[in-house]
Symmetry: C2
Subunit: 506 residues, 2 copies
Amino acid sequence: MTCALFGSLGLAGLLAAPAPVPPARGPLEAWVAANQRAVVAELVDLIALPNTASDTENARANATALRARLAKRGLRAELLETDGNPLVYGERLVPGARRTLLFYSHYDGLPVETRAWKQPSPFKAVLRDARLEEGGRELPGFASRASFQPDWRLYGRSAADAKAPIVGLLAALDALEALGRTPTSNLRVILDGEEKSGSPSLVSAIARHRGKLAAEVMLILDGQAHPSGRPTLMFGARGYLLLDVTVYGPKVPLHSGHYGNWAPNPGLRLARLLASMKDAHGEVLVKGFYDGIGPLPPEEQAMLDAVPDDSERLMRMFGFAQPERPGLSLQRALQLPSLNVRGLSSAYAGGEARSIVPDRALASLDVRLVKETPAPAMAEKIRAHVRAQGFHVVESEPDDETRARHPAIAKLVMRGAAEAYRTSPLLPECQAVAQAVASQFGEPPVLLRTSGGTVPIAPLIDALGFPAIALPTVNFDNNQHAENENLRLGHLFTGIQTIASVLVMP
Amino acid sequence: MTCALFGSLGLAGLLAAPAPVPPARGPLEAWVAANQRAVVAELVDLIALPNTASDTENARANATALRARLAKRGLRAELLETDGNPLVYGERLVPGARRTLLFYSHYDGLPVETRAWKQPSPFKAVLRDARLEEGGRELPGFASRASFQPDWRLYGRSAADAKAPIVGLLAALDALEALGRTPTSNLRVILDGEEKSGSPSLVSAIARHRGKLAAEVMLILDGQAHPSGRPTLMFGARGYLLLDVTVYGPKVPLHSGHYGNWAPNPGLRLARLLASMKDAHGEVLVKGFYDGIGPLPPEEQAMLDAVPDDSERLMRMFGFAQPERPGLSLQRALQLPSLNVRGLSSAYAGGEARSIVPDRALASLDVRLVKETPAPAMAEKIRAHVRAQGFHVVESEPDDETRARHPAIAKLVMRGAAEAYRTSPLLPECQAVAQAVASQFGEPPVLLRTSGGTVPIAPLIDALGFPAIALPTVNFDNNQHAENENLRLGHLFTGIQTIASVLVMP
């Protein structure tokens, strides 16, 4: 395989090489510095549009606003209707284009539980002078500020995931326009409105709009930059498999005094089942869980080793003394499928607890998948594991006859899945993008073999058949899947330059 | 020990003897049949007074109403003020009394979650023609009915626990008055307003009101009659120890993709801890959990064997195929301390689940105690067990330094405790009560060595120093610790006769 960027040194060579001489980063950086107010204002305006995917009216308002904002940048923009929320599509053809780039991002965000946020509304952005957890204080009247410190944070739903990257793309186009530079590639943009529910409409849109999705390289504007703060490229993403396991006790909650130690306790049964799935050192015990995952090629091993993770700092920040699998580095852990208990529920716990034997206990699991472990096979392995623990496995509520026949019953419900994808980082397209970013910043970007998190567009990537590279631009500590989601503004400002550099790459 | 009732046959003899000839049950039974409307109306009126203990204003309204209703039956009644809700006290001295009986019950009920109830308000009683779970339909306009089928059910908070027994006592006094019969014992009545929170005010009232609590026998009007439907006496109750165990993950919820399999998962850790506490056959593995529990004396063993439990029917009704400890009968199980997971919570589960590594997982446990396993020692054994599983045990939220030092941290919080009590069923007082009930119904009552559930007045019983016998009168399937609490009316009607028979025992 030709290796345009890394030459005979290969990927490992680039990683080990001294940083290139600081480049002509100047004009782009200067434009961003001079236009912070407009950039931040555009993001605040977009956050103000509530974007839970199930809130279809507001979702459409997001789509309409984004279509207009793309059109303002000279793209021919339209809404592509689907069975769900519309896709926003934009296109800009460039005379003499070297290639066509397809940018993907999404405008929907996770549902919010407003009470859990430390601000009146997740859709009314709040600026703080630092992270909340580090004592960040609100900075009032920020709409009138001309400049913003890079460490300041903008709090709001989708501030990071993924309205900031969309604003990054819009601002990059503004910057090039202002600097009199023309993109070297044709641009296509597709903005998904259902990423948080697995992008169901996107997949069905492939057949209808294949022409609009034709390109040589797909660039995914989603995900979080490496914690080192350096620009980051990512060549894959783990998939996921979501499943709920319900274990049963008596049909109705029973008094724990009158029946405790006689009626089966579903919480303890669930605990035994979950405990059977992972050993004390964090290794998953489900049979075949790691099947097909062999040793990495040396180039990819070198790529993992070159990632400047600072595990000690992360652990201090996150407040734990030891990773789940003590011997495994973060990058190594992300190359493997994971098994995570994302939620537990049985009757009431804490101050609300009642003295009952609950009727059921529920664990919501997510398994992160890698390319070698597709979702259907993984689901079957987990089902087999639950059966091997002595449970009769059902898919709906057990009836009286089932209850009378089976001492232990578990209901398994699959709640969704998305496959992993991985693009080889050794492809010339990947190296061209890496070179462009390296040139802008004067140092090689962090190259991640895979994101731990999911971009649920693996079917799209598979169907389109050209390389997909993610440009994750937002801060890693953004709380994007919880309350108090936030964006570090410095990441937005850098992200604009990252995207712009790719738009004008040779 | 003299055994007035059972003579040379002893307790086992009574249990094995043929049922006595049907007695003069007639007049009491007839009075109840003729006065159902007034009895049910009194219960409905009492249910209408919301009685969550923390709702002190309404609790006092309950107390005031009960004082008036006792006074109406010729008791000198008053409220005894405490640091919490008042105790209702009533006294009626009888010339030539054979003894003094102290009746105990409680007017408070567990908190309600109204949405979970199948009626508009748990405090507006609803009459149904059967159990909800068996398709019971609402019977409208029941206030105007003159008679009620015994299988009909009255739904409402405290319908069973414990407003029905209180109404049973009031009606028993009415019945005796109407039949021209005078109680053979002095009566003292004490109604607790904080039973559901462990009766804290009751204990402190002992010293101040010892004279008012003086008696020869204490009769506890609480708990549920045996499922066979036969009148029931109970000579003890298990205690409880409530504790919450919190196990920690990262300080804030983390994205399960970016950190899953690297950040420790608190749900899995909690599962491992809980699984370590009980084996697959339901035997608790906490060291010393069963210490001090030896084989039973033959009389008490015979008592257990004579209890007409119909385990098969119960299991069918409750919808499980096998008890938690397959070899252990229900009565045997209740003689042992139990370990029950009454609630689990970690982040969100089910439809609300998010793809995060949660920051914590919480299990609320209740341990049912027996006389041999006092609460403080049991708490220490559980603490030692958690430590032995590798957890650093704390009692409040761990700070950063604690988190940095200990890979596994568990917070243990004790939420309350009540000791078990047990009165020897071989005492003459116990046998007099059993004889009175046997005479009324023409068959021996079910004699229970201990209730599985708790009456949190062991300290009162210990301090008073005279025998305590429970007369549990309500149906066992009353949902008293959950939503849709209900009373089978036949149990109320029988309970009136049970209490009346004791009021006039020789």
